[in-house]
Symmetry: C2
Subunit: 247 residues, 2 copies
């Protein structure tokens, strides 16, 4: 069943008024017909089974006919700091991090990032949001990851949340895998914040600064991963570890 | 340091004669000079520190000046059955599975695969081998994953190795994660064989056939992953689990 995230104001009682972009997708791309069913999500964690109606041949709307379970959210929120890099790789990271389960994605500009400033931020954010939304719809997410504007490393590393477990993945660290950090905790964290580096990796100064700011410096394993693979691998393993024995 | 896999016959005593393609890369792409150093791998798990020489300006060769440690191989071999699919996604899977640590990659044609036969297999295998080699060089692998010719599902599922742990990742299975299978084993397996499905997933008949053939039917978690993400995620989590407490 096709899934669509809509803004809360699109839902009025049992009536769903689709934003133009989604209405076009329903009518022109998917060619769905009267009484076809779709899943509509309001980004509060609720999902509705919706039957399609056409006011006229150009304007589909929806009637809510029931609630649907949303079971695909991770047990605890994971905030992913990912390196800003060239378009194709960055957008791939956005898509994959959403698919795999990030709750929040923060593009980060560190010392060795290939991209050091963002031009046309508004239009880029719009494009990036769309990638996140489509990936969330495809992967069965119940909540859209929140996408933040790009941060410089020095701000990113000082993330003030004191109640989160902070994991800094650094290829120079060889000995400390995620599970050892996890095992050393007295209790399960309320959230986990992870950060992976750009193509050239993090510098020693950056790793030292992270450590000063309470990040655990951890390894992803023995192989050298590309920046985009590392972002995905760190998130996958973190979620796997956090859901261990609870799924 | 740049890394190159060469055929064993390229190494003669302390002299390395590069295949044309690698010689061109050294001279024209990387523009390496006399006495620059590279790492040469003979695919037996050995790595050599090699100093470059030029017989004339067109023909670089190498002098072995020492051995180098290779530490990036997984502790136990992992055989990955991945779905044959459209070119871009398939080649992405080859690259990522190599990077993350597969020992052997088997393209598999199952019921819902988008690609059901391979034309020009020889030229495709050559292209795929090159993708695997480059990914292995970049990620610090010490041994090239062996790439098999595509198999039909019915052959793939009957893989005769009785001494391997077989994990079949199926999105209809919701309850059994890798770590529970791992925990139920009396001892560590000698190798692990994993299989993930194509865009449309595996059919119930395929899952039943896998079960009959001794595969454990396992879940990758609650989110619906794309075929290519699933191939990578299954491999990453399997290696992570197999190296737990040993790295």
């Amino acid at each position: 069943m096709n899934r669509f995230f809509v803004p809360p104001e699109s839902i009025n009682g049992t009536r769903v008024v689709f934003p133009d972009e989604i209405a076009d997708q329903i009518r022109l791309v998917l060619r769905l017909k009267e009484e076809d069913q779709v899943c509509v999500l309001d980004n509060s964690g609720k999902a509705y089974r919706v039957s399609l109606r056409y006011a006229n041949e150009k304007n589909p709307f929806g009637e809510i006919i029931g609630e649907m379970p949303v079971e695909a959210e991770p047990l605890i929120p994971i905030i992913s700091f990912i390196p800003l890099t060239k378009r194709e790789k960055f957008e791939w990271m956005l898509q994959k991090c959403t698919e795999v389960g990030a709750s929040c994605i923060v593009p980060t500009i560190s010392e060795r990032c290939l991209i050091r400033e963002v031009r046309d931020l508004d239009s880029k954010m719009e494009r990036w949001q769309k990638i996140v939304r489509e990936a969330a719809e495809q992967s069965g997410r119940g909540i859209l990851p929140s996408l933040k504007i790009p941060l410089n490393f020095s701000s990113a590393v000082q993330t003030p949340d004191s109640n989160t477990l902070k994991l800094f993945f650094w290829e120079e660290e060889k000995d400390l895998p995620i599970y050892r950090v996890y095992r050393s905790l007295g209790e399960k964290p309320n959230s986990i914040t992870i950060m992976t580096g750009p193509e050239g990796g993090f510098s020693s100064e950056e790793a030292a600064l992270a450590k000063q700011n309470g990040w655990h410096i951890v390894t992803l394993g023995k192989r050298i991963l590309r920046a985009e693979t590392a972002a995905l691998a760190a998130l996958l393993l973190t979620i796997y570890e956090s859901e261990r024995d609870e799924i």
